[in-house]
Symmetry: C2
Subunit: 308 residues, 2 copies
């Protein structure tokens, strides 16, 4: 196998014309260069330089290897350039997992911010069950996930970045007796029939826990899978519901939304990424953009919390 380093030395000699000039150019002594070329000749099995007068001239084999050395050097330079691009975030891939209600408020503006800062980064978005995108991140199948923080989840080489506290609100049909109140005490809903709006998981937990804290257990008469459908059930008078604010940005005309207290259920929305991947500029940029989006989104949540 030819030694690439020695090929570069040969190239320096051939382009410089003399061993001494090449040595000066490389920061070596002429002796070192001469020895390197001699070693390369031993590897190649052929003379590569011919002494002529006071200097040297490449043989046919030497010229051939010099040309190829240039090609190899270009390939290495290309690798370095690609690596630099990747390190600087000018290129690369970012695999992002998110869940439905986080899409429009958090992911979409964050993606716009990333695109502005790192146009060369290709983002692969995938809607995921909110249950365990952790594993996908930890396994490396994804680089970042927007998740609803569950109780037991201590990061597994993963770093959780807090984005937003998403409060749940009461969703009542128009004309419901409690619709007149500005803020609803959670216990006031204890006797109602309930429309469930999410499958068991981290999004349902705050509801169950808060109701338990208020001293009752909700009586689900129907179970929906998404908040739009659940609002339809509420509007149809099947019952009341508790839904997170992020799921209520598109509000059904047949329902009223009221803040809840004592306690106010919350779900914590975070971003998860591998600790090792945290150095990537593109990922950091996306995280920052997510935080920005969460801040503005949070302001909107607060405003909508006080209906006027």
């Amino acid at each position: 196998m030819l030694d690439v380093r020695r090929l570069q030395v040969l190239r320096a000699v051939v382009t410089s014309g003399t061993v001494t000039a090449a040595a000066a150019h490389l920061g070596y002594t002429p002796s070192a260069v001469s020895q390197q070329v001699a070693a390369l000749e031993r590897q190649a099995g052929t003379a590569l330089l011919e002494r002529v007068g006071r200097g040297v001239r490449p043989t046919a084999a030497g010229l051939l290897l010099t040309e190829h050395a240039a090609l190899i050097s270009a390939a290495v330079a290309q690798a370095e350039s690609a690596l630099a691009d990747l390190r600087a975030g000018r290129t690369g891939r970012l695999s992002v997992r998110y869940f439905a209600t986080a899409g429009s408020t958090l992911v979409a503006p964050a993606l716009a911010g990333l695109r502005a800062e790192h146009p060369g980064v290709r983002v692969e978005l995938e809607l995921s069950d909110p249950q365990d995108p952790f594993q996908e991140v930890a396994d490396g199948r994804a680089d970042l996930a927007v998740v609803v923080q569950a109780r037991g989840h201590a990061g597994d080489g993963c770093r959780l970045v807090h984005l937003l506290d998403d409060p749940y609100a009461a969703v009542l049909p128009l004309g419901h007796p409690l619709a007149g109140k500005e803020v609803i005490d959670l216990h006031a809903l204890s006797g109602e029939q309930w429309v469930g709006s999410e499958p068991p998981g981290p999004c349902l937990e705050p509801v169950i826990d808060s109701c338990a804290a208020a001293g009752f257990s909700p009586d689900f008469v129907i179970q929906s899978e998404d908040y739009a459908t659940a609002q339809g059930f509420v509007a149809a008078g099947l019952g009341v519901g508790l839904m997170p604010r992020l799921g209520l940005r598109n509000q059904h005309p047949g329902v009223v939304v009221r803040p809840v207290r004592n306690p106010e259920p919350l779900r914590v929305i975070s971003a998860a990424a591998r600790t090792t991947a945290l150095g990537q500029p593109a990922l950091r940029s996306f995280l920052d953009a997510l935080r920005d989006a969460a801040a503005t989104g949070g302001r909107w949540l607060l405003r909508s919390g006080q209906p006027g």
Copy 2:
């Protein structure tokens, strides 16, 4: 600058999947491989491998560098292949110098032989003044020269390979008094008017020297530059000449050619090549072909020497 050797180690790890397997494949210990990758990570400024469970997984940067390592490896392999082709004589360039009368008898058949054995070798033929193609060979402007050996020419890093002794013959006009003899004594031409057939140089020297040995100095009444024209002058009755057999393969109808003796002038035709270039298979093959052509050409010279 990225170390190419370490890139290959990284590639082995990524393709093998584990450090241990890569080490076994490379003939190293896992520790050595791990250290090499660590050093490469230091050079690259980024993590390239991530520990996952019991093995390792390449990061985005690691995967990128692995792909580029494959490209670089291919470039090196191509260089090695090209070098092997050159060494084996499957490719390359051969710059050949020759002089006019050697062309048809020596160079042409030799070239055919070379083509049969090394079809990939490109030959650059150039008609040269026969005076000093030595310098062109020594300087590397040519790889091989067919030359007329001069007296003082001790090779200057050049090797001379004897090809042919080319005897001079007397060229007489039809009806010349000496045309009836089978063999002509050189001294018999001492009183004649002479047609010179070559400029001063290694081809003229044997004529001058032989005449001096025969006790006279030729009286040139006209000087030609080539043998065809010189034969025309002889046929026109301007005088007699001494021309080498190789220059008489195309014989003018108005002349007769007779062998000469006491002494018989000779020019020695050799091939010159740099000693350092003597290892090239293509050059050796061409030299062998030249010797073959000289042998068959020599037989022809002998036959034509005894006109029937």
